[in-house]
Symmetry: none
Subunit: 188 residues, 2 copies
DNA sequence: TCGGATTGTTCGGTTTGACGAACGCGCTCG
DNA sequence: CGAGCGCGTTCGTCAAACCGAACAATCCGA
C-alpha cells in the first residue's frame, strides 16, 4: 500500500519531543507531571528519552495531565518558522449581502492556533510569563476596555479593536472595566 | 494555570469502535487488516473487542494500514455543529488574577486558521458556498444576534456564544440585528 | 558548610500487551 | 456427506511496558 496520506514519521521521537516541550511549557517538573498523570517517573523519564513505546492509556493520562489534546502529543510539530504578520486587514466585501469581513491575520500551515474566549474583571493585572519561543497572541476585544501587550508596550483597546503581539516575552493583561475578548494563541 | 480542559472519555472504547468502523469502511476482514498491519489477528481481535490497551506503535501501524490519520482512531467522531454558549465551556483559571479564558477549539498542527472580524447588518442572508474540503468555521459573536450554520442546521447566537461547523458544505449567515463577530476560518 | 529537599536517571521485579497456535463456526466445492 | 478454506475468538508463552526503590546531581535554607 502506498503512503498516500502523508502519514508522518514514526511517532516515537515525536512523542518524546512533544512531551518535553509541553511539559516545559506547563512549567512543571518531570516528577510532578508523573505524579499528576499517575505514572512512575521512571516511565516518563524513558518516554522523554525516546526509549519506549507507551500504551494509549499511558499517553492519554499524560495528555490530560498536561491539559493538551491527545493529537498534539502524537503529531509532529512541523516546526518551520514563519510568522505571518497581521495586516491592516483588507475588508472583503461579500458579493451579495450586508456582510463585511476584515482579515486580521492569515495563518500559515504548520502554525497551531488555539481559540479562547477570555473574560477579565478589573483589578490586579495578569502577569503572563513568556510562552514558548515563536508564539504570537491575537486579541479582539468584544466589549469593555482593556490594556494588553508586552511590558512597556501595552495598548488600550475598546470594543472591536484588534491587537497582536509576541507571546514569547513577558506581557500583561489589565481590564479597566468588565470585559471579554476573543484570544487566539498562536504557536508553531 | 489550572487544567480543566475537558479531555473526552478514555479512548479505549473509542478506539475499539473506530477500528471496527474504519475496517468495515475499507471492506476488509479482521484477518486481512492484521496481516497488512503486521500484527497478530488475536491482538486486533482483542482491540476491537474493547479489551486491551494498545501501544502507540501498534495503533500507528493500524492507522497506516487503514489509510487514515492517526487521530481518527483516537478521537471520538466529530460532531458536526458544536455550540458553546456564553459562559459555558472548559475554563482555564489563571493563577493569580481576575482572568478567565475559555478554550473553544484547540488547533492541531497542519491546520491553517485565518482570523477575521465580520460585521453583519440585518437583511438578506449571506449564502456561502462550500469551501475547500476539510475547512471548518468558528464564530464567536461579539454583539448582536445572528443565525449561522449549515443549511438546515442553523443556530441562533447571542453575544459571547460560540459555534463551529464544517465550511465545506453550503451554509448561511443571517443577522437579526446589527452584529459583529470574530470568525476563524480553519483549513487544513 | 551542612542537611534536606528536589531534580532526573538507572536498576530488578511484576504486570500485561503482543504473538502464534489451536479452536469452533460457517461457507463452498468436490 | 466431508474435505477445504476463511472468518473471528480463546489460550499459553514471551518480551516489554510499567512500577517502585535506590541512585548521583543540584539547589536552597539553616
Amino acid at each position: 500500500m502506498e503512503r498516500t496520506l502523508h502519514e508522518p514519521a514514526p511517532p516515537l521521537a515525536t512523542i518524546a519531543a512533544a512531551l518535553r516541550r509541553e511539559r516545559e511549557r506547563a512549567g512543571i517538573s518531570l516528577t510532578e507531571l508523573a505524579r499528576r498523570a499517575g505514572l512512575a517517573k521512571s516511565t516518563l523519564s524513558q518516554l522523554e528519552a525516546g526509549t519506549g513505546n507507551p500504551s494509549i492509556e499511558t499517553l492519554w493520562s499524560l495528555g490530560v495531565a498536561l491539559g493538551v489534546p491527545f493529537s498534539r502529543l502524537v503529531e509532529p510539530p512541523e516546526t518551520r518558522v514563519r510568522v505571518i504578520r497581521a495586516g491592516e486587514g483588507p475588508r472583503l466585501q461579500a458579493d451579495e449581502a450586508d456582510f463585511v469581513a476584515t482579515l486580521l491575520a492569515a495563518g500559515s500551515p504548520h502554525t497551531r492556533r488555539d481559540l479562547y474566549v477570555m473574560e477579565l474583571e478589573p483589578g490586579q493585572a495578569r502577569d503572563a510569563l513568556a510562552h514558548i519561543p515563536g508564539s504570537v497572541e491575537h486579541i479582539v476585544l468584544a466589549s469593555g476596555r482593556i490594556k494588553a501587550g508586552p511590558v512597556g508596550e501595552q495598548v488600550e483597546l475598546g470594543p472591536g479593536d484588534y491587537v497582536t503581539f509576541p507571546g514569547d516575552v513577558d506581557h500583561h493583561y489589565e481590564a479597566l472595566e468588565p470585559s471579554w475578548a476573543v484570544l487566539v494563541m498562536e504557536h508553531r
